[in-house]
Amino acid sequence: MLELDGLEKSFGEVRALDGASLAARPGRVMGFLGPNGAGKTTAMRAVFGLVALDGGRVCWQGRPLGRADRLRFGYMPEQRGLYPRMRIAEQLAWLGRLHGLGAPEAGRAAASWLERLGLADRKRDRLEQLSHGNQQRVQLAAALVHGPEALVLDEPFAGLDPMAAEALAGIVREQAAAGVTVVFSSHQLDLVQDVCEDVAIIDRGRVVLSGSLEEVRRRAPHRRVDLALEGEAEWSPGLPGVERLTRRNGLTTYLVPAEADPAALLADAARAGRVTRFSFQPPTLSDLFREAVER
C-alpha cells in the first residue's frame, strides 16, 4: 500500500500541499483528481523524492518510502520527455538498468514492451524518428520497463486520442490486475470513472474526498434526479435541500437529499405533467468533484 500521510509543502508564499493524505491499495487503480494548481504534481513528485517535504511522509508497505523502494516504482512525469537521439530499445533498456535490472534482463524487458506496444520493428529507430503517438507509447514503456510494483502516472491520458486512451486504460487495468498499485492524475473525469476503482480529490493542497468510487458515490449526501416532462412542463420537488442543476434538451437535473424517496418524487412529478424520463442515481464523479472543490 502506498500512503501519503499529511504531506506539507510550501514554495515561498504558495502552499502547494497542506496536509494531503491518501492511501492507494495494491491491485487497484486510483484516480487522483483536482483542479489545476491543487497540488497533484507536487504530491506525485514527493513520492519520487523530487520535492523536499516540509512535513508528513510517504510510506510504502507501512514503512517510510526509501530510495530502494522508489526504484521499483514506475513514473510518468507530467513533463514528458526522453532522449530524442537515442535508439528506443537502448533507451528503454538503459532506463531499466537505472532501476536496477541487469543488462540482459533490461534488454529483454525493453524488447517485450516494444513488441507489446506494436513498435518491435522500430526498435532501432531514434525516438525523434517516431510519430507523436508512438513517442507516447515509448514514454509509457519507460514507466513500465522495470516491472514496477507501483505506477504513478501524472496526467497519462493528456493528449491521447480515444484509441490510444483506450489502449492505455487497458494496460493500466491489466497492471492492477497483476497486483500493481496504480495512481494516476487526470482532468478527464468520465475517463477516470471508467478506469479507476478508487478516487482521491485534492483541492488547495488537501485531499477533500477519497475512497472507492462506489463508496464515495453512495456516501454522498445527494442523489441526482434527471427528469423530463412532456411539453416541458415546470416541476419543482416539494422538498427542502433541492438544487436544480441544469435544464438541457428538456431534461432537467436536480440534486436532492440522499434520503429522499424516489417513488414519492416520481409520483409528485407525475402530478405536474406526463413523465417521459426519470432517473434517480448516486451523483456522478463530476458532481462529486464539483461539490468537493466548490469555492
Binding site: 523530487l50 513533463q79 532506463l95 538498468r97
Partner: protein, 399 residues
C-alpha cells in the same frame, strides 16, 4: 542502488551516445588533422638539416683544396662531397644535369649553374683562398701536410652563456605553448559539451524521469565523468600523436621535460576539466531552451579565455616571475598556467604540491556549489534562473 553503479550507467550512456555521434568523430578527426597540419607546417619552416653540396673539381687541384673545403664546410655547418671532372665542358654538363652544385677550377674560378646561393659562394671562396694560401706556404718551403695540420682546429672550445635554460629551452617553449593551447581548447570545449548535455536533458524534459531514479548529484557526476573520459582520450591521442609526429618530422628532440610535461598535462586536464565542467553543468541547468546555451556559456567561456590570455602574457615569457607564480596557484588559471611552467622547468616541487592541493580543494568546493545549483535548477522550467535563485530552490528538492 550504489552510487558507483548509477554514475557508471550515466557515464556509459554519455560515452556511447557521443562516440556514435557524427559530431564527435568529425571533431576528433579534425583536431588530429589540425595538429598534424600545424606540425607539418612547423617542420617545413623550421631549421632544415645541414645543407649538403656536391662539388666538382676540374683539373689538377691544389693539394690543400680538399682539406680547405672540409674546414670551410664545417665552419658553415654544411656537408661537402667532391668528384673530379675532366674539363670545363664536363663541368658545364654536370651543372646542367644538376649532378653537382658547383665546379672549382685550378685557376680559382667557381662555376655555378646560376648565382643566388651566397652561402655556397662564400664557403667555396674561403676554401679556394685557403687552398691558395697553403700552396704559397708550400712554395715558401713548408711541408703542405704540416701546414694542413696547423690549420686544423686546435684546443677545445667551450661555449658558455650568462642565461641558463639548458639546450632544450626552445623545445620547452614549444611544448609549453602547445600545452597551453591544447589544454585551453580541450577544457573549454568539453566543458561546453557538458553544458549542452545538461541543457538537452532539461529541454527535452527527460531529466525528471532520470532524477526520479538517480539522485541529481550522481547524474551530474556521471555526465561530467563520461564526457571527461572522452576528453581525456582525445587529449592523450593529441599528445601522443603530437609528440610522435614532432619527433618523426625532426621538429624537436623530446625535451628532457617532455614526459613529465605530458603526465602533468593529463593531471591538470583532469583537475581543470572537473573545475570548469561542473560550472558549465550548473550554468546549463539554469536555462531551459537550446537557444539560451550560448548566453549561459558566455561568462564561463570568457573567464577561461581571460585565464588563457593571462597565461600567454605573463607565464610563457616570465615563467618564474611572481605574477606567474600567483597565476598558477589561482584555481581558475592553474590548469593552464601550471603545466606551462612545468614545461618550462620553472616550478619548485613545493609549488607543485601546493598548486595541486589548492586545485583539489577548489574542485571540491566547486562541485558542491555547482551540484546544489544544478539540483535546484533541474526541475524548473520556463524562464532562465539566476544562480542565487537556483541555490535557494535546491532547498525544495529532496535527496
Amino acid at each position: 542502488m550504489s552510487a558507483g553503479r548509477d554514475v557508471y550507467l550515466v557515464a556509459q550512456r554519455e560515452v556511447r551516445e557521443r562516440v556514435r555521434s557524427r559530431a564527435f568523430v568529425v571533431s576528433t578527426a579534425f583536431t588530429l588533422l589540425l595538429v598534424l597540419g600545424v606540425l607539418a607546417v612547423l617542420a617545413f619552416f623550421s631549421d632544415r638539416p645541414p645543407p649538403a653540396y656536391h662539388v666538382g673539381i676540374v683539373g689538377e687541384s691544389s693539394p690543400g683544396l680538399r682539406g680547405a673545403l672540409d674546414l670551410a664546410a664545417a665552419a658553415n655547418g654544411a656537408l661537402v662531397s667532391t668528384e673530379p671532372l675532366a674539363d670545363r665542358a664536363a663541368a658545364e654538363g654536370a651543372l646542367r644535369r644538376e649532378d653537382v652544385d658547383a665546379a672549382l677550377f685550378d685557376d680559382g674560378t667557381i662555376l655555378l649553374a646560376r648565382r643566388g646561393n651566397p652561402d655556397l659562394e662564400s664557403m667555396l671562396t674561403v676554401a679556394l683562398r685557403q687552398a691558395a694560401f697553403v700552396e704559397r706556404l708550400a712554395e715558401a718551403g713548408l711541408d703542405p701536410e704540416e701546414v694542413q695540420d696547423l690549420l686544423l682546429p686546435a684546443g677545445r672550445v667551450q661555449v658558455e652563456a650568462l642565461e641558463g635554460g639548458g639546450d632544450d629551452g626552445d623545445s620547452g617553449i614549444a611544448v609549453a605553448t602547445a600545452g597551453v593551447v591544447v589544454l585551453f581548447v580541450v577544457i573549454s570545449s568539453y566543458g561546453q559539451w557538458v553544458l549542452t548535455g545538461v541543457l538537452e536533458e532539461k529541454a527535452n524534459r527527460v531529466v525528471e524521469l532520470v532524477v526520479a531514479a538517480v539522485p541529481a548529484r550522481r547524474l551530474l557526476a556521471g555526465k561530467v565523468a563520461g564526457i571527461g573520459l572522452l576528453g581525456l582520450i582525445q587529449l592523450v591521442l593529441l599528445i601522443g600523436i603530437g609528440l610522435g609526429a614532432g619527433v618523426f618530422l625532426d621538429l624537436f628532440e623530446l625535451p628532457r621535460t617532455a614526459v613529465a610535461t605530458a603526465v602533468w598535462t593529463v593531471v591538470w586536464f583532469m583537475l581543470g576539466y572537473a573545475f570548469y565542467a561542473v560550472i558549465f553543468a550548473a550554468a546549463g541547468s539554469l536555462v531551459s531552451r537550446q537557444e539560451e546555451a550560448q548566453a549561459a556559456a558566455m561568462p564561463i567561456a570568457l573567464g577561461a579565455v581571460g585565464m588563457y590570455l593571462a597565461t600567454f602574457v605573463v607565464v610563457l615569457p616570465w615563467p618564474e616571475s611572481m605574477g606567474a607564480r600567483l597565476l598558477s596557484l589561482f584555481p581558475a588559471a592553474a590548469p593552464i598556467a601550471f603545466p606551462a611552467r612545468i614545461a618550462l622547468d620553472a616550478v619548485a616541487p613545493w609549488e607543485l604540491f601546493v598548486g595541486v592541493a589548492l586545485m583539489i580543494a577548489a574542485v571540491y568546493g566547486m562541485v558542491r556549489l555547482a551540484a546544489r545549483v544544478y539540483t535546484g535548477a533541474l526541475l524548473s522550467s520556463g524562464a532562465r534562473l539566476g544562480w542565487r535563485k537556483a541555490w535557494r530552490a535546491a532547498r525544495h528538492v529532496a535527496g
